[in-house]
C-alpha cells in the first residue's frame, strides 16, 4: 500500500508538473447553437485536446489499472451554454446497470473556483467542484425505453404486484404511494426519470458527491465503430442553484473520468485525468 501511495504521489506530482505544459482546451464560440448530436458536422470546428487517463488509486475502492487510456475532448459555447464532446475507444458497449454488471460512463469535472489548486480529488472541504456525469444506461433508457423487468428479463414470469395496476410498467404506472415506497421514495423515483442522460453532481472531496437539486444538464451519447461519442451541455449559470465561476471570455480548468462497465468500473473504480487542464472559453466576437 505504501509503495503504491508513493508511486501515486510521484505520478500526481508529474501530472501536475505537466499541467503547466498541458495544452489548453479552447471552447470555440458558435452563434448558431451547439448541437447535442456528437456526430454533427459543427463539432469539426472545435479543436480537440487529448486527455491521458490513469486508474483511480488514491482512495479505496480503486481501479489499479485504467480500462481506458485516453479521451479526446472538444468544447463549443454560444455565450450562454458550454458543451463538451468526449470521444474514447471502448469496444464493449455496456448500456445496462444491472446485478453485477455496470454501465459505461464519462464525466467532466470543473472547479467552482477557477484555479488549478483545487484538489483534483473531487475538490476538498470548502473547495467545491461541479461534475457532469453521462451514463450509457440512462441513454439506453431514453433511447429504447426504461430498463424495466420486462426489458431486462423478457422471459420473466410474475403473478402480481400488490398496489400496482396492470400492465406493470416502470415508471409510468408507479405513481402511487405504495409503489413509490418500493423504489426508495419519491426522490429516487424522480432521479430515475429525469429526461436527460446527464446528472449534475457537486462534491467537496472523495465520498461527498451529491446530486444537485436542479438538474438541467443535457447530453447525448452514441456508440459507433467501437468508440463512444458523447456530448454534455450545460448553461454556465443555472438559476436557483450554485454554479462554478466560469463564463464567456474566462479561463478555468477541467478534467475527465471514464468508466468501462465491462471492466467492473463504477464509482471510485474509474480512469481519470490527474491534472487540471486549462479551459479557455471564447467570448462572442
Amino acid at each position: 500500500m505504501a509503495s503504491r501511495m508513493l508511486a501515486l504521489a510521484l505520478a500526481t506530482l508529474l501530472a501536475s508538473g505537466s499541467a503547466l505544459a498541458q495544452e489548453a482546451l479552447r471552447a470555440v464560440y458558435r452563434a448558431d447553437g451547439i448541437p447535442l448530436d456528437p456526430t454533427d458536422a459543427a463539432w469539426q470546428e472545435a479543436p480537440a485536446v487529448t486527455v491521458t487517463l490513469d486508474g483511480q488509486t488514491v482512495t479505496e475502492p480503486m481501479a489499479l489499472e485504467a480500462a481506458v487510456g485516453e479521451v479526446s475532448v472538444q468544447a463549443l459555447t454560444n455565450g450562454r451554454e458550454i458543451a463538451f464532446r468526449l470521444v474514447w475507444e471502448d469496444p464493449t458497449e455496456d448500456r445496462f446497470h444491472v446485478v453485477a454488471k455496470f454501465s459505461d460512463a464519462v464525466a467532466v469535472m470543473v472547479p467552482y473556483r477557477p484555479s488549478d489548486e483545487v484538489p483534483i480529488t473531487m475538490g476538498g472541504p470548502g473547495d467545491r467542484v461541479l461534475i457532469l456525469h453521462w451514463a450509457a444506461f440512462r441513454q439506453e433508457n431514453l433511447d429504447n425505453g426504461y430498463a424495466d423487468v420486462n426489458k431486462l428479463y423478457p422471459n420473466a414470469v410474475y403473478d402480481w404486484y400488490p398496489h400496482a395496476r396492470k400492465p406493470y410498467r416502470y415508471p409510468e404506472d408507479w405513481r402511487n404511494q405504495y409503489a413509490l415506497a418500493y423504489i426508495g421514495g419519491e426522490k429516487l423515483f424522480r432521479k430515475n426519470t429525469i429526461a436527460s442522460p446527464v446528472r449534475e453532481v457537486v462534491a467537496e472531496g472523495f465520498g461527498t458527491s451529491t446530486w444537485k437539486d436542479v438538474q438541467r444538464a443535457e447530453g447525448r451519447g452514441v456508440h459507433v465503430d467501437g468508440r463512444w461519442e458523447v456530448v454534455i451541455r450545460r448553461r454556465f449559470v443555472e438559476e436557483n442553484t450554485s454554479n462554478p465561476d466560469w463564463g464567456p471570455g474566462r479561463r478555468t480548468f477541467f478534467t475527465v473520468a471514464v468508466w468501462d462497465g465491462s471492466s467492473g468500473d463504477r464509482g471510485g473504480r474509474k480512469a481519470l485525468g490527474y491534472a487540471w487542464i486549462p479551459l479557455e472559453v471564447e467570448a462572442a466576437p
Partner: protein, 379 residues
C-alpha cells in the same frame, strides 16, 4: 485507519471509521433446534417490504438448509475461501485473518460479487442431508450420522458493518439510537460495493430502482417497541429480538444479554469476518461439532452443553426465558422467571407478558371407570 475492539473474537482490528457503539444495539436470537423452514418469516418479510418491481428475487429474510442450501449460491463457501489462510482460534481469541486483514490491494476488505444467477435459486438444497442414508438406518445418538438443519438469516446489523466500510458514496449508515444499518436510497448510486462486501450477502441490488436495498430491521416497529415481522410471525417461536449490551455493560435480566453473555448459548454467525454480527444462534444439537465450530466459533461446545442441561431441566431460568420467544409482539427489555411463570417487561419495567412454563392441562384417562366407558378420541 482507526482501531476498534471486537469482543466476539476478543481482539482489535482496523476499521475505516472511529469506534462508536450505538446507544442501543439491535440484536436477535434464533434457536436453530426449533426452526422447521416453514418460511413464514420469509413471506412475512416479503409481503411487508419487498413485493415490488425489481425485488422479485430479493429476500431480506431467507431460510436455507445447511449444508447444501445457499442464498445467494455458495455464499458461505465463498466466505471460507476469502478467509482460507488459516482461520485460527486460540481458545476464544481469533488469530486468523478477518475480512479487513484479507483485503486485496486497492480495496478496504476482501469481497466477492455474486452473479445474477447466484440469486435466482433461493431454495437450492432444500431438505438435502449431508450424505445418503442407507435404508433401515437408525439415528439414535448425537451428533447424527447424516444431518441437516435450517438456517434462517436476516441482516446481522453488524457493529462494524462491511457495507458501511465499503460504500464509497457514504450512503450506508448505522443508526446511533438502535444500531440498525440502513442504506440511504437517495445517496445510493447502485455501485454494489456493499453487495460484494457483505459476507452474509444481505445487501441486494434492485435492477429496476438501480439502488441496493437491505433488511431494515423493521425499524418502524422497533421504534415503537415492537419486534420485527420475522419474529412475531414465527410459528415455531424460535426468535427473540431485543438489544444487546457490550460485554462490559451486561445486564443479566436483559433476555439477549442472558442468552449471549451470561449463559453463552447463542453464538454469532461466522464471527471470523470481524464484523461483530448481532444475530445470535443457538446451535443445533444433532450436527457434528466441526461444522458448527466453523460456523459459530469455539463457543459451540459450551453452548451445546448448556442447552443439553436445559433439556434435562437443570437450567430453569434459561428454560423459562425460551418460553418468552414468540409469546409477545412487544420487545422485552428485561425478564424474570418467578415460580412457574416467565414475565417480560418493557423498557420502563412495566409487565408486558406473563407466560406459564407449563400450559394448564387436564388429563382424561382412556378408561372412565365412573361411567364405564372407553374414550377413543384422546391423544
Amino acid at each position: 485507519m482507526p482501531t476498534v475492539y471486537n469482543w466476539q473474537i476478543r481482539r482489535e482490528l482496523d476499521y475505516p471509521y472511529e469506534h462508536e457503539r450505538p446507544r442501543k444495539q439491535f440484536a436477535m436470537v434464533m434457536d436453530l433446534n426449533k426452526c422447521i423452514a416453514c418460511q413464514t418469516c420469509t413471506i412475512a418479510c416479503k409481503t411487508t417490504w419487498t413485493p415490488g418491481r425489481g425485488q422479485e428475487y430479493m429476500l431480506w429474510n431467507n431460510v436455507e438448509t445447511k449444508p447444501y442450501g445457499f442464498y445467494p449460491l455458495g455464499w458461505d463457501v465463498k466466505l471460507m475461501e476469502l478467509l482460507r489462510d488459516g482461520q485460527k482460534w486460540v481458545d476464544a481469541t481469533y488469530e486468523g485473518p478477518t475480512l479487513f486483514d484479507a483485503a486485496p490491494e486497492g480495496d478496504t476488505l476482501a469481497k466477492w460479487m455474486p452473479d445474477e444467477y447466484d440469486w435466482a435459486f433461493p431454495n437450492v438444497g432444500e431438505d438435502e442431508v449431508s450424505e445418503p442414508v442407507e435404508v433401515g438406518t437408525v439415528m439414535d445418538h448425537l451428533p447424527h450420522l447424516a444431518w441437516m438443519f435450517y438456517l434462517p438469516r436476516i441482516c446481522n446489523h453488524c457493529t462494524y458493518p462491511a457495507c458501511v466500510a465499503a460504500c464509497p458514496r457514504k450512503a450506508i449508515y448505522k443508526r446511533p439510537e438502535d444500531g440498525i444499518v440502513l442504506i440511504d436510497p437517495e445517496r445510493c448510486e447502485g455501485y454494489q460495493e456493499c453487495v460484494a462486501a457483505c459476507p452474509y450477502k444481505k445487501s441486494i441490488f434492485n435492477a429496476v430502482a438501480r439502488i441496493s436495498q437491505k433488511c431494515i430491521g423493521c425499524f418502524p416497529k422497533v421504534e415503537n417497541g415492537y419486534q420485527p415481522q420475522c419474529v412475531t410471525t414465527c410459528i415455531g417461536r424460535i426468535r427473540l429480538q431485543g438489544f444487546i449490551s457490550p460485554p462490559d455493560r451486561i445486564r443479566p435480566d436483559n433476555p439477549i444479554d442472558f442468552l449471549v453473555h451470561v449463559k453463552k448459548v447463542a453464538l454469532p454467525l461466522y464471527p471470523q469476518t470481524g464484523l461483530e454480527p448481532n444475530v445470535y444462534y443457538i446451535p443445533p444439537i444433532h450436527v457434528p461439532r466441526s461444522f458448527l465450530r466453523q460456523m459459530f466459533g469455539p463457543g459451540v461446545d459450551h453452548a451445546l452443553r448448556t442447552y443439553e442441561r436445559m433439556r434435562r431441566g437443570e437450567e430453569p431460568e434459561l428454560q423459562g426465558l425460551l418460553h418468552l420467544f414468540g409469546s409477545t409482539e412487544r420487545i422485552s427489555h428485561s425478564f424474570r422467571v418467578v415460580g412457574d411463570e416467565v414475565i417480560g417487561f418493557d423498557e420502563h419495567g412495566r409487565e408486558i407478558v406473563r407466560v406459564p412454563l407449563v400450559e394448564p392441562y387436564q388429563e382424561r384417562p382412556h378408561e372412565d371407570p365412573e361411567l364405564d366407558v372407553v374414550r377413543q378420541d384422546i391423544p
